[in-house]
């Protein structure tokens, strides 16, 4: 008896072996914790003849602090990240995002890499085969019509990973390994606004690590709203990193998840640098966050709620962080 379709399983011992196997089998898939890929395979959403399991690749599981930055291997689990003291103290948005993914048992298996490569989601896509068949499928798989926006030429499935926005406001970079070597890019450039091709990763590349600068004076936080606080994907998630000096905001970054096909970096916040966090500033934050919220009807919860909640979460986090630094003007060392 087997629940999954047939495939060959390969278990490389090194990252370069994994990349070699992938080059030999272009339709293969990497398997990390399996908490996204295996349910998707069971539902017939992902077909592959070769699965390359990364669980034995020890070089992907390191966590090193070096020269003012923290390098995190993609194989580090979310439970490990959430419980790590350095991450909790210096990169709280990341620890909070990791602690808020799925349920506790998922987080013990789920990895950083799997979370960043998480498949985009939609109420018409993340369904069983009979359900999708009864609805004549959709553009992401099996038909040429989008059920969310019927005249649309693109898919709006939502990127719903919690870690990406946290890493964006923390100015992280991702490291990719391909047959020609390594390349590094800012995490925002790892994503594309397309529900069917949301990663700017070449098919022969492997995500190997994330590098996060440990900058003094910045504070950060992450918060999400979901249907059930115990287990669900974000309907919307907001990450904020902020730097305050005296009564002036000297740095502010905000990123969103669940409200677009990619994690969204909120733009237009630069003008606030040097100003206090007053009502004008909060109004600008609310307006810019609303502009970045491009939610479509991809969840059962309606769009107006998701549009209204992101500015609320953003303002709440900004005010909380502003107050925290106020009590401790030097900020974390």
């Amino acid at each position: 008896m087997s629940t999954l379709p047939d495939f060959r399983l390969m278990r490389p011992a090194t990252a370069s072996d994994a990349v070699r196997m992938r080059a030999l089998h272009p339709s293969s898939r990497y398997l990390a914790g399996g908490t996204d890929l295996l349910p998707n395979m069971r539902r017939g959403l992902v077909a592959t003849d070769v699965v390359i399991a990364l669980g034995d690749v020890e070089e992907l599981t390191g966590l090193h602090e070096e020269a003012g930055s923290l390098t995190i291997g993609v194989g580090v689990t979310l439970a490990t990240l959430a419980a790590n003291k350095l991450v909790q103290e210096r990169l709280p948005a990341l620890a909070q995002a990791a602690a808020g993914v799925a349920g506790p048992t998922h987080r013990i298996s789920a990895t950083l890499g799997g979370n960043l490569c998480l498949e985009t989601r939609c109420r018409f896509y993340n369904q069983s085969e009979p359900w999708r068949e009864a609805n004549d499928y959709c553009m992401k798989l099996g038909s040429d019509t989008c059920r969310v926006a019927s005249k649309s030429a693109r898919c709006y499935a939502a990127f719903s990973g919690d870690l990406a926005p946290a890493l964006m406001v923390l100015a992280a970079e991702v490291e990719l390994l391909g047959p020609l070597g390594t390349r590094v890019l800012p995490i925002a450039d790892f994503y594309r606004e397309d529900g069917m091709a949301w990663l700017a990763m070449a098919p022969d590349e492997l995500l190997v690590a994330v590098r996060v600068p440990l900058k003094n004076g910045w504070v950060s936080a992450y918060e999400k709203v979901r249907v059930r606080g115990s287990i669900d994907f974000p309907l919307a998630g907001v990450a904020v990193a902020l730097r305050r000096e005296g009564d002036a905001l000297v740095g502010l970054r905000i990123a969103l998840t669940g409200v677009s096909s990619r994690p969204e970096s909120v733009s237009g916040l630069e003008a606030m640098a040097g100003h206090p966090l007053d009502d004008t500033a909060l109004a600008i934050i609310a307006r810019q966050v609303k502009l970045g919220t491009k939610a479509m009807e991809t969840t059962l919860i309606e769009v107006p709620f998701r549009r209204r909640i992101t500015p609320v979460l953003a303002k709440r986090l900004v005010e909380r962080l502003w107050g925290m630094v106020g009590d401790n003007p030097i900020g974390p060392s």
Binding site: G34, L38, P39, G103, P104, T105, S230
Partner: protein, 156 residues
């Protein structure tokens, strides 16, 4: 294709020819006949398939059997030694933590993992550890009370 899988299940070393695409859940229920571990959903949603891998909870429905090669797997069947219920099993029975019983093996294995690292958890810790285990019958209160009752007993 089948490949040899070596691991320990419920304390006994095993060697079985297992399909590469078999889920840990398929292997436990289908190959070994250990049907105490339940399948409650089509993947990752309910926690009914929770087993222990090296003492940590794991969803058997979202894990390949070959991913746990060389590891120690424990299922609900391992808890009742010589026909005696474990303290968690007894507490679920006596404190009405189980009704239809379908979620119970997963609940108990998740609670077992908790008690091994935190023998005297408070309510918040119990709720946090069982957050991914769904129950459609009890309303959860009796489940939490059952885990609390078990924690007050010394392990046998």
């Amino acid at each position: 294709m089948k490949k040899l899988l070596r691991l320990s299940v419920n304390g006994k070393p095993r060697e079985d020819a297992v399909a590469e695409n078999a889920l840990l859940l398929d292997y436990l229920r289908g190959t070994l006949g250990l049907t105490g571990t339940k399948q409650g959903c089509d993947g990752g949603e309910c926690g009914a398939c929770t087993v222990l891998v090296d003492s940590q909870p794991r969803l058997a429905c979202s894990t390949l059997a070959h991913s746990v090669a060389g590891r120690s797997v424990e299922t609900i069947e391992s808890l009742s030694a010589e026909g005696n219920l474990s303290r968690l099993q007894r507490a679920f029975h006596e404190h009405l933590g189980t009704q239809c019983g379908f979620c119970t093996p997963g609940m108990i294995m998740a609670a077992e993992a908790l008690l091994r690292v935190n023998p005297h958890p408070d309510r918040a810790a119990i709720r946090a550890s069982l957050a991914g285990n769904l129950c459609r019958c009890t309303g959860y209160v009796k489940i939490i009370e059952s885990v609390e009752a078990a924690a007050q007993e010394q392990p046998v």
